[in-house]
Amino acid sequence: MIALFRVEFAKATKRTRTLAALGLAVGIPILVGIADKARGNHVGNGDRGPGGDGLFRLARQTGLVLPGVALTLMSAFFLVVIVAMFAGDTIAGEAATGNLRYLLLRPVRRGRLLAAKSLVAFVYAWLMTIAVTVSALVIGVALFGWHPVNLLTLFADGRVVRIPAGLGVVVNPGRLVLDLLLSTAYVAFSMSALVAIGVFFSTITDSAAGAIAGAVGVYIVSDIFGAVTPLGVLRYGLPTWYSDAWQSLFEQNHLSHDMLPGAIVQVVWTAVFLALAGWWFARKDIAS
């Protein structure tokens, strides 16, 4: 199993698109940081108040918040597409090139091959999320320094102004680093269901693009259903319902109660879809 994982990881790593994805995961937070720095403390129309650019404002106080900004921006779509790409490519990518049959012409159990390939997709989901965080942290500290953050924001004459001592809620760097670790882990873990759904689609089609589109499609539909209020508590079981639960760590300085159910929902979706993928793949005729 270790040898199989090593081979599959090497295959994924050598792909140009993997390097491109990694480049974007590192590059986009850098651009976001530079843009935030260039803007300074000016507050434009629509930016003021709780619905404005809250995390951006905090990020200007300390580089330790910029990873939170980057994760917020990139977990909504970019990371979903990237992770779906790794997951959707697992089996269907090999089938599309015709190489799948040669992998299975050896006494390698199909379940074991699927497990190794799925594990590679999970590892890359974590690596991409970590790349976003680390990149944002490095550029954030370089641009905004390593300071505590005050969650209270005061405005005067269209600008954010310094908060007098003793006012607001101050979070020290040590706590911010802890929040950062938890946030990154939660965002990466929230991709688990997406990986499992992508792997499942990958076993039922010989088109990697189709499998990727299928996994992203499920996430989009999940988001849409999340906005359908008549569905009530049923929405709590959607894979995207608790995706943003980690943001309370930065915005409100407390661990959201939604993070635990969010993790449980991920575990359930992951288990169900990996089981379906394994069941299907074990019985599938390899015709490609």
């Binding site: 040898a3 199989l4 090593r6 081979v7 599959e8 090497a10 295959k11 050598k14 792909r15 140009t16 090139t97 015709g98 190489n99 049959r101 040669y102 992998l103 299975l104 012409l105 050896r106 006494p107 390698v108 159990r109 199909r110 091959l113 074990a282 019985r283 005729d285 390899i286 015709a287």
Partner: protein, 303 residues
């Protein structure tokens, strides 16, 4: 003592919805044989080979390798080298990486692979370290041969193995197969190149429309083919005369020759032609597998 059966296809069938891709086919390949699996497109050859190596599950019947039933990931696949349809690889990796990864993915050490022998077969020179996506079809096919030989397999299952190869490479592969068989390997070979099968194979299995038409030695198939090549001075007239004979099943022409698929004595054909004023130059019993094969296919399936 009977020779060891390496491949046993036992009343195997495969249906896709309403389509019977393979229908109740039975044959055996014994150790050291080079068996040719013949049939027109859609005969069910590739599906049969896929079931043999565990890629597809039979709807009925079973395939056995080395005496054990074949299931997906069956342990006896370690003793098999297979090339099913075209060779395929990880396109963004080099030829050498592909060989190494394929071998290691089953948990085996590269040191245990017969890499030098395999690379010698591939004969790709420095291209072995280039990405496979840059290879020609022939280079991929040669690398495919190298891959299947990494473990010195006892059985080679080859589906159209010379596709994409030039005549020189085809000859090399032919000689390689003979050498491997002489060394004790068993070969099951599906090919459209009937002259190649005739030169290499000792036995043949003929399939058509999913069913077994004939199996046996190449010699036996040629002897019973009933195909006669007659050189005449007037091909259209000879064709008309012969077509009227009840013993004649089919006629094709080739320059000054007519190729006649017929039952009964050859002298009857000659007598009919001479009687009709057609001058007969030569009469040759055909020894070409292609003619025998076409004769079998034209006859249709056995009742």
């Amino acid at each position: 003592m009977a020779a060891e059966a390496v491949v046993e296809i036992d009343r195997i069938s495969k249906t896709f919805g309403e389509v019977h891709a393979v229908d109740d086919v039975t044959f055996t390949v014994t150790r050291g044989e080079i068996c040719g699996l013949l049939g027109p497109n859609g005969a069910g050859k590739t599906t049969t080979l896929r079931m043999l190596v565990g890629l597809e599950r039979p709807s009925r019947g079973e395939a056995r390798l080395f005496g054990s039933r074949v299931l997906p990931s069956a342990p006896q696949l370690a003793r098999v080298g297979a090339l099913v349809e075209q060779a395929a690889f990880v396109p963004h990796a080099s030829g050498r990486e592909n060989l190494r990864w394929w071998w290691e993915s089953a948990g085996q050490r590269t040191a245990d692979a017969d890499l030098d022998f395999a690379l010698g077969i591939a004969d790709l020179g420095s291209a072995i370290d280039r990405q496979v996506r840059t290879y020609s079809q022939g280079m991929k096919q040669r690398l495919g041969f190298a891959r299947l030989l990494l473990g010195r397999p006892e059985l080679l299952v080859l589906d159209e193995p010379t596709n994409g190869l030039d005549p020189g490479e085809i000859r090399e592969i032919r000689e390689l197969l003979k050498r491997l068989a002489a060394g004790g390997a068993t070969v099951l070979l599906s090919s459209h190149h009937l002259d190649e099968v005739q030169q290499v194979c000792t036995t043949v299995v003929v399939m058509d429309r999913g069913r077994l038409v004939r199996s046996g030695t190449v010699e036996g198939l040629l002897t019973g083919s009933g195909v006669v090549r007659i050189e005449v001075d007037d091909v259209p007239r000879a064709t008309a005369v012969l077509r009227a004979l009840p013993a004649v099943r089919d006629i094709t022409s080739d320059g000054h020759d007519v190729l006649v698929h017929a039952s009964g004595p050859r002298s009857d054909l000659v007598a009919a032609l001479v009687g009709a004023g057609v001058r007969v130059e030569t009469v040759t019993a055909q020894q070409r597998l292609e003619d025998a094969f076409l004769g079998l296919i034209d006859q249709g399936l056995p009742a």
